[in-house]
């Protein structure tokens, strides 16, 4: 029986090659897209699930609240926390701290001299907690010696030209350190990322100084691994007591007036990536809403392809009507026929799946490159993946096949067996509804793609409010007056000014200030003279710092504080009625020289008063997902990287290519061999938006795929419909209709569902995009032009798809149409 069905089905497929090909192509493209999107979503949801024993691995998180302050949520914790937790919590098997990325050391070997941004300082037990597979040596014990390093395979190749340079020596900030172990490259789906790992026992590691900086200096990650069988809930329950015992006395000594409260909790390593809480992180997090949206779009593409399938199969049902009538006359029951046609649907989707797997395998390497990931598609080695693919395919086949099977098996033999053309096969209403639905989905996806693209462009170019074109950042530790003045003298340099990491949103520091009768947490950041001017940040009131005002310079103050400039957000936070109203007002804060050594000394400074001399517009070098924090700026003594870490250089755009080599020569002279680290400000900011840009591109590609699949289906449907109406068209032409009359008739058939789809899609898209845009503190407004553009695009796509088919048919001679029977 099934052999007979299969023979009929496969031969029918071969005989109707064009339609079968289009149906299968549409399904295959959709399945391939769904597979790749599924791999991406799985990758996003499985961060660090590769870590052995990951169920027992946690990051210690912290939340600080105070009487009149917004809570501060941190992924970092004080350096002293690790040892204290080891003492108080017997459930802990290992504890290790991690610090890295922000202040890269200079690595040197032979001719290679690099400021290694992927250098991480960790405690010796770190690789007992999180451990990629070892390539050479024993990473778990490698960092017990202060002069040891652990490299990834890529770093080993980069510095030594081979995979296992055990014993090889690298100069790290001038100190020789040797390679004790090599690990596999860090997986891309991980919350930790690094290439060179140094021990916290090394004298030049920053961790001891950061530890001495006190209980409110949160600059290290504290990782813990619980003993097998130990219960995280028990540890969590004991954390409030720990905080009260071990942290609060020191905190209250540092900040006696601020009534701070500290809450610690354990975040499972596998939950971190999708944690929507925005905080300073080493690896960008993903918004779970975006991951969900991309997953939904993958599903919608499959829906569009399935709709194609249903519409094409039912439209072409009349061609099988005679066969149905004959089979029924020969004794087939409705159930027999239903099973036969369901089986055909499954044959289609099975063939489509095979093609889809091939497409996915071809596309995946390129996708990995674009997304900077290492996703794998090992369906034979991963039973869960294989079963999922088969089940989803079968479900799609069954659901999509049900309606055509029902239509086909319902033909009454008496009405189909007389011979001649078969009348309307019915289901026209449902088919129209499906085409409307298809275009609805398309228009929503188009609108989403357009809105996301607009928001991304806005975020990168305008949301930061910083004019970053033709500005170069030169990292120096510290950036000194000597360097600045030497670079300023270079022809082609318009201006140059140092700034702290806080000013370019690399770090953030907070002080609890008293002003205007209130106590408020403000961010603070040291800057140099001319910093605001480089980024064209003109004061909204008052003035910015000027070199001809010596009192502006913090280096000239010891017992009192220099004047400050605040941003608009600070104006509101402090409760002033306007920017102008803030000028001349006094702010009390803990002014002191800014350096790591001083921070590590644990000294607290008393409140000192500063006058507000200017208000600048809000700006950020950070992500526009978060609101710009109320911030004040001052000119500080340039002691080390905490106070002054980058030289911001504005270049004459017309002479940039000649100017940059000159600047680099100046750097060589002034820097005493420190490796050059320079980046265009626009590129620097782009790093925060790479994920948003990639998401936007991904969604745009998905939109294109959805459009292609829908167009394939529409093309086939229009071809079929034109063929069905050949006799009618012949009669109309014989009655005097022109080719353009016929063309209009055919085009209108496909135009009105698209217009109807617009009316339904617009409110849906508006609500969905509104919800998505809420995730940005600074966002575009949805514009009516966007909706009109998407609607017009859908109409143009639909008409273009069916136009040539319609043109061909409308030009055919009437006699050949009337001879059709």
């Amino acid at each position: 029986m099934f052999q007979n069905y299969l023979a009929a089905s496969l031969r029918n497929l071969a005989r109707n090659g064009q339609y079968a090909g289009i149906t299968i192509a549409g399904l295959a493209i959709a399945f391939a897209a769904a597979i790749l999107i599924g791999l991406y979503v799985r990758d996003e949801l499985s961060y660090d699930s590769w870590v052995p024993g990951h169920q027992q691995v946690f990051l210690v998180r912290q939340k600080i609240t105070g009487a009149l302050a917004k809570p501060i949520v941190e992924e970092t914790t004080p350096g002293a926390l690790a040892d204290l937790m080891k003492l108080d919590f017997p459930q802990l098997q290992y504890v290790a701290r991690l610090s890295g990325g922000t202040y890269p050391p200079a690595l040197r070997r032979g001719d290679i001299s690099i400021s290694e941004r992927r250098f991480i300082w960790v405690d010796p037990d770190f690789f007992k907690i999180i451990a990629p597979p070892a390539v050479a040596g024993d990473p778990a014990t490698a960092l017990a010696a202060p002069d040891h390093l652990v490299l990834t395979r890529s770093a080993a190749r980069k510095y030594f030209g081979r995979d296992t340079p055990i014993g090889g020596v690298l100069q790290v900030d001038g100190t020789p350190m040797s390679v004790a172990a090599v690990i596999e490259d860090w997986p891309t789906n991980s919350n930790v990322s690094g290439d060179v790992f140094g021990s916290s026992l090394a004298p030049q590691s920053l961790i001891p100084d950061m530890t001495k900086a006190g209980m409110l200096s949160n600059s290290l990650q504290t990782w813990i691994k619980l003993k097998p069988g130990a219960d995280a809930a028990t540890v969590s329950a004991a954390l409030p007591g720990f905080v009260a015992r071990r942290m609060m006395p020191a905190v209250n000594r540092i900040a006696p007036d601020e009534h701070l409260r500290i809450q610690l909790w354990l975040e499972p390593i596998t939950a971190m990536h999708l944690d929507p809480v925005e905080s300073g992180t080493f690896v960008p997090e993903t918004d779970p809403a975006v991951v969900a949206a991309i997953g939904v779009i993958g599903g919608l593409i499959v829906v569009v392809a399935a709709i194609n399938f249903v519409t094409l199969m039912t439209a072409r049902a009349s061609r099988r009507a005679v066969e149905v009538g004959v089979r029924k006359a020969l004794g087939a029951g409705r159930r027999d026929l239903f099973v036969q046609f369901m089986g055909e649907a499954l044959v289609y989707v099975a063939v489509a799946l095979i093609v889809a797997v091939a497409i996915a395998e071809i596309v995946l390497p390129g996708l990995n490159t674009v997304l900077q990931r290492k996703m794998t598609f090992d369906y034979l080695g991963d039973p869960a993946l294989l079963v999922t693919m088969l089940v989803v395919t079968a479900v799609v086949g069954l659901l999509a096949g049900v309606y055509p099977a029902m239509v086909l098996s319902a033909f009454r033999p008496a009405s189909v067996l007389k011979g001649g053309p078969i009348a309307n096969t019915g289901g026209g209403g449902l088919r129209q509804a499906l085409v409307v639905t298809q275009f609805c989905v398309l228009i929503v996806v188009l609108l989403a793609a357009i809105t996301i693209a607009r928001q991304t462009v806005f975020a990168v170019n305008e949301g930061t409010h910083v004019k970053q074109d033709a500005v170069v950042l030169l990292f120096a530790s510290p950036c000194t007056d000597t360097l600045r003045d030497a670079v300023k003298a270079v022809p082609g340099v318009e201006s140059a000014a140092c700034s702290s990491p806080g000013a370019i949103s690399l770090t953030n520091s907070i002080d609890n200030v008293v002003a205007h009768g209130r106590r408020v947490n403000l961010d603070w950041a040291p800057v140099d003279f001319g910093f605001f001017e480089i980024y064209k940040l003109h004061p909204l009131a008052g003035r910015t710092f000027a070199a001809d005002h010596p009192a502006d310079d913090g280096a000239n103050h010891t017992d009192d504080a220099p004047p400050i400039v605040i941003n608009e957000a600070a104006v509101h936070a402090l409760g002033y009625s306007s920017a102008q109203a803030a000028i001349g007002q006094v702010v009390n804060w803990h002014f002191r020289a800014i350096s790591l050594k001083l921070a590590g000394s644990g000294q607290t400074s008393p409140y000192r008063s500063s006058q507000i001399i200017g208000v600048v517009p809000d700006f950020t070098f950070g992500s526009v997902r978060a609101a710009i924090q109320p911030t004040f700026f001052f000119v500080a003594q340039k002691i080390d990287f905490l106070s002054s870490v980058v030289l911001n250089i504005r270049l004459d755009p017309a002479r940039m290519t000649q100017t940059l080599p000159r600047v680099e020569r100046v750097w060589k002279d002034v820097s005493h061999g420190q490796p050059l680290q320079e980046v265009f400000a626009s590129q620097f900011m782009l790093r925060l938006y790479i994920d948003t840009i990639i998401e936007g591109a991904f969604i745009a590609v998905c939109a294109l795929i959805a459009v292609s699949v829908a167009c394939l289906g529409l093309f086939a449907l229009s071809a079929y419909t034109a063929e069905r109406r050949t006799k009618e068209i012949g009669v109309r032409k014989a009655m005097g209709a022109s080719s353009s009359d016929i063309l209009k008739l055919l085009l209108w058939q496909f135009l009105w569902p698209v217009l109807a789809a617009n009316l339904i899609a617009w409110p849906i898209a508006f609500l969905v995009m509104n919800w998505w845009l809420q995730g940005f503190a600074y966002r575009i407004d949805q514009s009516p032009w966007t909706f009109l553009a998407a609607g017009a695009a859908a109409v143009v796509i639909a008409l273009a798809t069916v136009f040539f088919q319609g043109l061909r048919v409308s030009r055919a001679k009437p006699v050949s149409a009337l001879r059709y029977e």
Partner: protein, 226 residues
């Protein structure tokens, strides 16, 4: 064997009511060859569809081998059709995607005949109609006469008690038409009743009885000399 008692068939749509047959009564004996004639639209095909259980009467009784089947469900009619009736159509109605042998085999598939027996019966049916040498060909590769012979083989392979032929020679030339008529006549000799709708007096002459319809009613019955 078959008896229609005052059978009527009315087709209704939301706007139009058409009476295709009005109070038709007739009997057909085992092994009888009956021809049905009449102008276009007189109800011939409707009568054939009712006899073949492809449709149900609006009124009246239809005794099919002693059972009144006029009000039976679609599933019951399907079962009866499968077991007792074969069809031959004017436009052949072979399934394009199946070979000649597979087309004939379909009739046995729904009867759940075992594979070996199916193959043998198909071979015998094809030999009986003289088309066995084309068993592996597709319908598009055959002439009209050859296709109709395959259709006759398909009707005969399940050993029905009744064959209904709707203008079986309408699309054939004279020689092929006579060949098909010979096959149908031969079938009656083994006790199979044949009811044939035809426009051709020459074809009707092969039947034992001719029934004439006009506007959905029987207007005459003519017995031919044996």
């Amino acid at each position: 064997m078959l008896k229609l008692e005052n059978v009527s068939k009315v087709y209704r749509t939301s706007e139009v009511e058409t009476q295709a047959l009005g109070e038709v009564s007739l009997e057909i004996a085992d092994g009888e060859f009956v021809a049905i004639m009449g102008p276009s639209g007189c109800g011939k095909s409707t009568l054939l569809n009712l006899l073949g259980l492809l449709d149900s009467p609006t009124a009246g009784a239809y005794w099919f081998f002693g059972e009144d089947v006029a009000r039976r469900s679609e599933a019951q009619l399907t079962r009866l059709r499968r077991e007792h009736i074969g069809f031959v159509f004017q436009s052949f109605n072979l399934i394009d995607d199946l070979t000649v042998a597979e087309n004939v085999e379909v009739a046995l598939l729904y009867r759940k005949v075992p594979r070996a027996e199916r193959k043998q019966r198909v071979r015998e049916a094809l030999e009986r109609v003289g088309i066995a040498h084309r068993a592996g060909h597709r319908p598009q590769q055959l002439s009209g006469g050859q296709q109709q012979r395959v259709a006759v083989a398909r009707a005969l392979v399940s050993a029905p008690k009744l064959i209904l032929a709707d203008e079986p020679t309408g699309n054939l030339d004279t020689a092929n038409g006579e060949a098909v008529m010979a096959l149908l006549t031969e079938a009656t000799r083994s006790g199979v009743s044949v009811v044939m709708v035809t426009h051709s007096l020459a074809q009707a002459a092969a039947a034992q009885r001719t029934i004439k319809l006009l506007d959905g009613r029987v207007v005459s019955e003519t017995l031919l000399a044996a």
